[in-house]
Amino acid sequence: MARDKTLGEVLRERGISRRGFLKFCAATASLMALPPSTVPAIAAALEKARRPSVIWLSFQECTGCTESLTRAHSTTIEQLIFDTISLDYHHTLQAASGTGAEDARESAMQENWGEYLLVVDGSIPTANPGYSTIAGISNVDMLRETAAGAAAIVSVGSCAAFGGIPQAKPNPTGAVSVSELITDKPIINVPGCPPIPVVITGVLTQFLAFGLPELDHLSRPMAFYGTSIHDRCYRRPFYDRGQFAETFDDEGAKKGWCLYKLGCKGPTTYNACATTKWNEGTSFPIESGHPCLGCSEPDFWDAGGFYQALSIPTGDLPRAAAYGVGGGLLAGAAMGALNRVRKNRAVQAHEKVTIDDLEKERKP
C-alpha cells in the first residue's frame, strides 16, 4: 500500500462503494453528535486525506487498549479505515522485531517529521528508567524523542492519559501520564480502561477530518466525553424515583434498578459507554448489572472503593463520635464545675445590703 495514495483511492481499491463510504461518514457524524450537514465535509476531508503515518508506542500497559481496538470490531469499516492509516510502528501488531522494528519507527519519524500522529498507551515510569525499556531505550527517552516530531499526540487509555493503574497508590514505578512529560504538543486524551473501540477510531477520524477536536478540561474530546454516564443511563429513571438495588441479587437488582448504592460512579464519569455501548452496541457494564467503575476518570483506582457509593464518608465515624462524646463530656464537666466554683465564690463574696447602707446613700 503506497503512502501517497489518498484514503478515497485506497477505499475504492478495496471495493468500498461511494455509498458505503458516505454511510460510514454519516455514522461517524452521528457518533460525534455533528449535524448531517457536516457529512459531506467529513467525506471530502477523508477522501483527500493522505494516509498519515501513525506511530503507536506502548509503555506500562496491559495491551487491553489494543485488544479493545482490534478484537471488538474485527470486520467493520472502522477497521478498514484504521488499516488505511499508515500504522508504521506498533509493538503488538507489527511483524518486525528487534532492530527492524526500531528502524521502522526511526524511518517513519524521519520521513514524516512534524506530521505524524503519535498514539501512546501505557504510563511512563520515572522512578527508575530501567523499569520499562524497549530495545534498551527507556520509556521516557522514547516518548521525548518520538514526541518531538509529532503533529499531535493521542493518549489512548487511562494509563497514558492520567497514569492509570500503574500510578495507583503507592505508585512503585513513579508512573506518570504523557501530559506530565510532554507539554509542547497538542495532546488528545482518550481515557478508559480500555477506551471504547469506536471512540478510538472516532477520535482518529475526527482528527483526520477536522484537526484537533474540541476538548474538555481533561483534554478529552467533547464529542465522546461530553456527557456523564449518569445523564445517559437507561436506569436513570430508577435513580430519580429512588429505586435502588441494595445487593447484587435482591429484587431491585433483578428488576434492573439503579446501582448507585452498589457504588456506581456514573454520576462523576464522562464517557460514551451508555450511548455507544460495547461489543458492537450490545451493552455496557451497567446494562449487565455492574456499577460503573469510573475508568475514564483520573485516579479511578484510588477513588475510595468500587462498591462504595460516592457520597458516603470513608472514615471510622463511631470512633470519631466516641472521641467527641468523651472529650465533650470531660470538657463540659470541667466547665460545669468551673461555673459552680464561680457561682459559689460569687455567693460567698456577696455583701448583703443593709438598711443602714441604704440610709447612708440617701444622706448627701
Binding site: Y260, D299, A303, S311, I312, T314, A320, G327, A331
Partner: protein
C-alpha cells in the same frame, strides 16, 4: 492534590475531624447547660412539671394562630425553610446512605425531582428571611455577625448540593467535595453558634412548660 484526592480527604479525615468537633461541641454545650442546675422549688406543686413540660414541647412545635397573627411572615417562611431543609437533608437517597453508614438505620427516599424542587423552595425561603432581616429596621438592629453567619452556613450546603446535583460550573468530584466540605463547616461551627438551638429547643420548651406545669397553669 488531584480532585479525587481532595474528595477522598473530604470524605475521610476531614469528615472524621468534623464529626469529633461536632459531637464534642454538642456534648460540651449540653452538659454545661445541664450542670447549671436549679435551686429546689420550695413551693408546693399544683400540677405535674413533667406533663406540663411535655405538653409545651408538643404545643410549641405546631403552628399557632396567635404567633401567626403577630408575625405571619417569619412564622410561614420559617416553617417552609425548616421543613424544606429537613426534607432535603433526610429524604434524599445519597444522604440516607450517609445516615446508614453512621447509624446503621435507613428509610425510603423521596423521588429525586421532589427533593430537587424542595431544595429550590428552601433556598428561596432562606433568601426571603434574609431579605426580611435586612428590610425590617428592628430586626436589622438586633442582628449581629453571628445571625448572618448562621444564615450563610445554612444556605451553603443547600446551594452547593444543588449545583453538585446539577453539575454546574466545576467537575463532579470537586462539586461533591465542596458540598461535603460545606456540611463539615456547618458541623464544626454548629455547637458554638445559635444553630445549637436544634439540640436545645426541646430542653428549653420542656423547661418553660415544666415551670408552668408545676404551678398548675398552661404555658
Amino acid at each position: 492534590m488531584t480532585e479525587i484526592e481532595f474528595l477522598l480527604w473530604v470524605r475521610g479525615p476531614a469528615f472524621e475531624g468534623a464529626t469529633v468537633i461536632f459531637v464534642l461541641g454538642v456534648a460540651f454545650r449540653l452538659l454545661e447547660i445541664l450542670m447549671l442546675g436549679r435551686k429546689a422549688n420550695l413551693a408546693e406543686a399544683r400540677g405535674s412539671a413533667m406533663l406540663g413540660g411535655l405538653r409545651t414541647i408538643a404545643t410549641r412545635s405546631f403552628p399557632d394562630a396567635t404567633t401567626h397573627k403577630r408575625s405571619a411572615f417569619t412564622h410561614t417562611v420559617g416553617y417552609i425553610f425548616h421543613i424544606g431543609f429537613f426534607v432535603t437533608l433526610l429524604l434524599f437517597a445519597p444522604h440516607i446512605l450517609v445516615v446508614e453508614k453512621a447509624f446503621g438505620v435507613s428509610w425510603p427516599a423521596l423521588p429525586t425531582p421532589v427533593v430537587d424542587a424542595t431544595a429550590v423552595v428552601t433556598m428561596i425561603a432562606l433568601i426571603a428571611v434574609l431579605w426580611h432581616r435586612l428590610k425590617d429596621p428592628v430586626l436589622r438592629f438586633l442582628s449581629n455577625f453571628q445571625d448572618y453567619f448562621a444564615w450563610f452556613l445554612t444556605i451553603l450546603p443547600v446551594f452547593t448540593g444543588y449545583i453538585a446535583f446539577h453539575r454546574v460550573g466545576m467537575s463532579p468530584p470537586t462539586l461533591i467535595a465542596i458540598h461535603i466540605l460545606s456540611i463539615e463547616l456547618l458541623m464544626v461551627v454548629f455547637p458554638f453558634t445559635k444553630l445549637m438551638h436544634a439540640f436545645t429547643l426541646f430542653m428549653a420548651r420542656w423547661y418553660n412548660g415544666a415551670i408552668a406545669g408545676y404551678k398548675g397553669v398552661n404555658s
